[in-house]
């Protein structure tokens, strides 16, 4: 046998490049996302028209807002409310497509820049909470599958309890213990990392419970799989079994779940930002709903939908990278 050099032997394989494997589903994801955004925009248009009374009045805070006649006329002109309904609809789609959500009457500023300034804080909160939830869930799953039956039931019990914790209650307890009791963290969110700790923990703990349950279940399945026996038969140790084989199998459903989790985190941000008096999209939404600031509400709905779609596409792509079989 001639002995080709090692460089000749590098895989020249039809190993589909990441782009090739992801390109098509990515396109489908983006196409689907555009469709969903259109559907959400249409829905908000219809909903605003369903508010009883004058749509101009509704835009300015609904009946009882006592908007002046000039303000009503200005709103009618801005939203084209004197035009036929189809023209109004197309105008709104056009405005949303250019990220023009109009003017907040309660805050008297443009909606789009206002929301963009709030988006960063909320995204940071959500991403950190998701990361913490993953760390806690993985640690819990790995630890509880090591200790036999007792460890497994203990881990399972912890996860169920964590998944069932209501955020407002958890936030209150955390403030009572760690702010008012121990004084480790500020009770309201201050700028800087220290102010993020309690809000992130509040969001992450219940999510870690959900994630932990799916991860542990698939981890246990993977550890029983025949390929683990093969790996052991090669002399692989417990650590190698978990890190090289089982964890990847266990992560697949968790990653798929993370798309859903992001929606959970955004809605959780409404509660958490309010309790910790932290600026962000969630708190802006709550305030806008309270004072019926319709342009702001529409803006938050659209931006949240957009963020949700992006995260879903990303988690789909990540699932495909982890498990190439799912790309078929």
């Amino acid at each position: 046998m001639t002995s080709p050099s090692a460089s000749d032997l590098r895989p020249t394989a039809p190993r589909a490049g990441a782009v090739g494997r992801l390109g098509r589903p990515l396109l489908i994801g983006v196409g689907g996302g555009v469709f969903v955004l259109w559907a959400v925009a249409t829905l908000t248009f219809v909903l605003v028209r369903l508010i009883p009374g004058d749509p101009a009045q509704a835009v300015l805070g609904g009946p009882g807002s006592q908007a002046s006649a000039e303000a009503l006329a200005a709103a009618r002109a801005e939203y084209g409310l004197d035009q036929p309904i189809l023209v109004q609809y197309l105008m709104q789609l056009g405005r949303i497509a250019t990220l023009d959500f109009g003017t907040s009457y309660s805050l008297r500023t443009e909606v789009a820049p206002l929301l963009l300034s709030q988006l960063g804080g909320t995204l940071l909160l959500a991403v950190l909470a998701l990361a913490l939830a993953w760390v806690v869930a993985l640690a819990l799953a790995l630890a509880s599958t090591r200790g036999g039956r007792v460890g497994a039931s203990l881990g399972s019990a912890l996860e169920v309890v964590a998944a069932g914790l209501p955020q407002f209650w958890l936030a209150t307890v955390l403030i009572l213990v760690f702010s008012l009791g121990l004084g480790w963290f500020p009770p309201i969110s201050v700028p800087g990392p220290i102010g993020l700790v309690l809000p992130v923990v509040t969001l992450a703990l219940p999510l870690a419970g959900f994630l932990g349950q799916t991860i542990r279940e698939s981890l246990l399945d993977a550890l029983e799989a025949p390929f683990v026996l093969s790996a052991r038969a090669r002399g692989e140790g417990e650590r190698g079994i978990r890190l090289r084989h089982a964890i990847r199998h266990a992560a697949v459903p968790g990653v798929a779940l993370s798309g859903w989790a992001f929606g959970y985190l955004i809605s959780g941000a409404v509660v958490v930002e309010t309790i910790f008096a932290r600026p962000g999209l969630g708190r802006t939404l709550l305030n806008a709903v309270t004072v019926r600031d319709v342009p702001v509400v529409i803006g938050v709905v659209m931006i949240t939908a957009l963020a949700y779609i992006v995260v879903t596409v990303v988690s789909d792509a990540a699932t495909r990278l982890l498990d190439p079989r799912s790309a078929a």
């Binding site: 895989p11 038969a233 199998h249």
Partner: protein, 548 residues
């Protein structure tokens, strides 16, 4: 001590259940020891004990446990890890699940090197390619980056063998390494395993099928109920079997056994009766109405569109017919189109061209609402009986359901008990769910369900492929009995030529969607015309004639 492994009085128990009860094993370099037994005989646990992989719940003791010169009786997990992969390699059954489906096979094979050596990554790659070539993997440079799911069954099994051989361990343990494979692939993998021992590697080959191991083994040890009941050279064991369990295993092998002879003796004393039973009834039946077939498949074709390439022609202009009371054996390897043909016969898939006629009337061209009234004419059983049952239903409910379709209101469950009785199951099974039954019992329940509508044709798609030889023998005997009693016609589909030969009056050989050969069973076997049939016939494991 000269042997590679030398084990004395090996005992393995789980709790108070002792599954290996005093086994002695010795293997010399270059020797192949076959460990044969039915499922539950303890052979797999014995094999795993040779790698210290019996699991955390097992208690293992032995008066001697020497592997490649090391005493491993009191070995720690760490010591065992040093042995696994470097001194003993393991090849297990289904490579699709025995190789990590998310990792390229090259990584899996290189793991053995990563764990036990300090080779650089490029040196590892070089060794992986070398061992892939040794096991006869085509295009190793391409395959090394592919995952198990992207390879064919034979290539996968080669990759798994390569991962066990990467470090050239002096001992290889292969646990049913060919059970999931087609016969021609099985023959090539067995040849490969045989060649591994040529350079002095010792091989412990575990199988439920004596015919498979007869080809490569030097010595055979027959296991039953946790003990080795007989051991000797292949000729000794097959030629002059002393233990009753060995004789049962030999009798269970269908290949080369005449049509109608029992594979599993009824006789409780263990006397093997291999004479064919009287076939008077059968001759009469054949004479009565040889002209009108119960199933007539006329020139059917079926193609499936594929993205970016030519459509896949699964069935290509196939014609065949089955007369009442006759068995037609349909042989072919996976992907040959035999299951698609079965679906077309059952009118579950519509053919692109051609027609199926049942009992002289149109069938495949009918609307389903019209066809339903005639569906009782056909019953079907499949390879995986368990997945063909609703997991929430008990056996009684499953049978009641089938009887309802047949228009029988089975109030007291009398008919269901009769059906169970006809397949040799006690009525206690009625209250149990199929998941709690054994593989053979499940297949019996599925046969009982198929019989509920009193069909005239029973379509059997790989009915015994998932069963071990002993259970297979009892199911084949049952099908034979039922055919006799009810005058059933059978369309018997299998990749196993030995099974088909034993069951069939006529044989049809399918290859790449086409029928390449049809004819009287004995004639086809005596003088196969098509090269593919000859290839299949050569690859089918048989016992040497001295075994009879």
């Amino acid at each position: 001590m000269s042997g590679l492994i030398s084990v004395r009085d090996l005992r393995v128990s789980f709790g108070d259940r002792e599954v290996v009860r005093g086994v002695d094993i010795a293997v010399a370099p270059g020797e192949t020891l076959a460990l044969v037994g039915e499922s539950g005989s303890g052979k797999s646990v014995t094999a795993r004990a040779l790698l210290g992989l019996t699991g955390p719940g097992a208690a293992v003791t032995a008066s001697q446990l020497d592997i490649d010169g090391r005493d491993l009786r009191a070995a720690s997990e760490r010591e065992w890890r040093g042995v696994r992969g470097s001194r003993v390699g393991l090849v297990s059954q289904d490579a699709l699940v025995s190789l990590d489906p998310l990792r390229p096979i090259g990584r899996e094979i290189a793991d053995t090197l990563r764990i036990h050596t300090r080779l650089s990554p490029s040196a590892r790659t070089e060794r992986v390619l070398e061992v892939l070539r040794e096991v006869g993997m085509p295009d190793p440079e391409v395959r090394i980056a592919q995952r198990a799911g992207e390879l064919s069954g034979g290539q996968r099994q080669r990759a798994l063998i390569a991962s066990a051989l990467a470090l050239r361990p002096p001992l290889l343990v292969a646990d049913e390494p060919t059970t999931a494979l087609d016969v021609t692939v099985q023959a090539r993998i067995l040849d490969l395993l045989g060649s591994v021992t040529a350079n002095g590697t010792g091989l412990v080959l575990i199988s439920h099928d004596l015919a498979v191991v007869a080809r490569v083994a030097d010595r055979i040890a027959v296991m039953s109920d946790g003990r080795i009941v007989e051991t000797g050279t292949v000729d000794e064991v097959l030629g002059a079997a002393r233990a009753q369990q060995t004789r049962r295993l030999i009798a269970a092998i269908p290949s080369g056994r005449p049509r109608g002879s029992r594979l599993r003796p009824v006789d409780a004393a263990g006397v093997i009766e291999t004479r064919p039973r009287p076939t008077a009834e059968r001759t009469v039946r054949e004479e009565t109405d040889p002209t009108s077939p119960i199933l007539d498949v006329r020139g059917v074709s079926k193609a499936y569109p594929r993205r970016g390439t030519e459509p896949l022609v699964a069935v290509d202009d196939v014609s065949l017919s089955i007369r009442p009371g006759e068995t037609l054996g349909l042989v072919g390897e996976s992907g040959s189109g035999k299951s698609t043909l079965a679906r077309i016969a059952l009118a579950l898939t519509a053919p692109d061209r051609g027609e199926v006629v049942v009992d002289g009337e149109s069938w495949s061209t009918l609307r389903e609402s019209k066809r339903r009234a005639r569906r009782h004419l056909m019953g079907a059983i499949y390879q995986d009986a368990l997945s063909s049952f609703d997991p929430r239903l008990t056996t009684g409910q499953i049978l009641a359901d089938a009887l309802l379709v047949a228009g029988v209101r089975d109030g007291g469950g009398r008919r269901a008990r009769e059906l169970l009785d006809s397949v040799g199951l006690p009525s206690a099974v009625l209250a149990r769910r199929p998941a709690r039954l054994s593989g053979g019992q499940r297949q019996r329940v599925s046969i009982a369900r198929a019989l509920a509508t009193s069909p005239r044709l029973l379509l059997c798609d790989e009915p015994v492929s998932a069963l071990d030889v002993g259970v297979q023998a009892t199911v084949l005997d049952l099908l034979d009995d039922l055919q006799r009693e009810h005058g059933l016609a059978l369309l018997f589909i299998s990749h196993d030529l030995g099974v088909v030969r034993h069951m069939s009056d006529r044989i049809a050989v399918m290859h790449a969607g086409r029928l390449v050969e049809t004819g009287d069973a004995e004639a086809v076997f005596a003088a196969p015309q098509h090269p593919y049939t000859q290839l299949l016939l050569e690859a089918t494991p048989t016992l040497p004639q001295s075994g009879r």
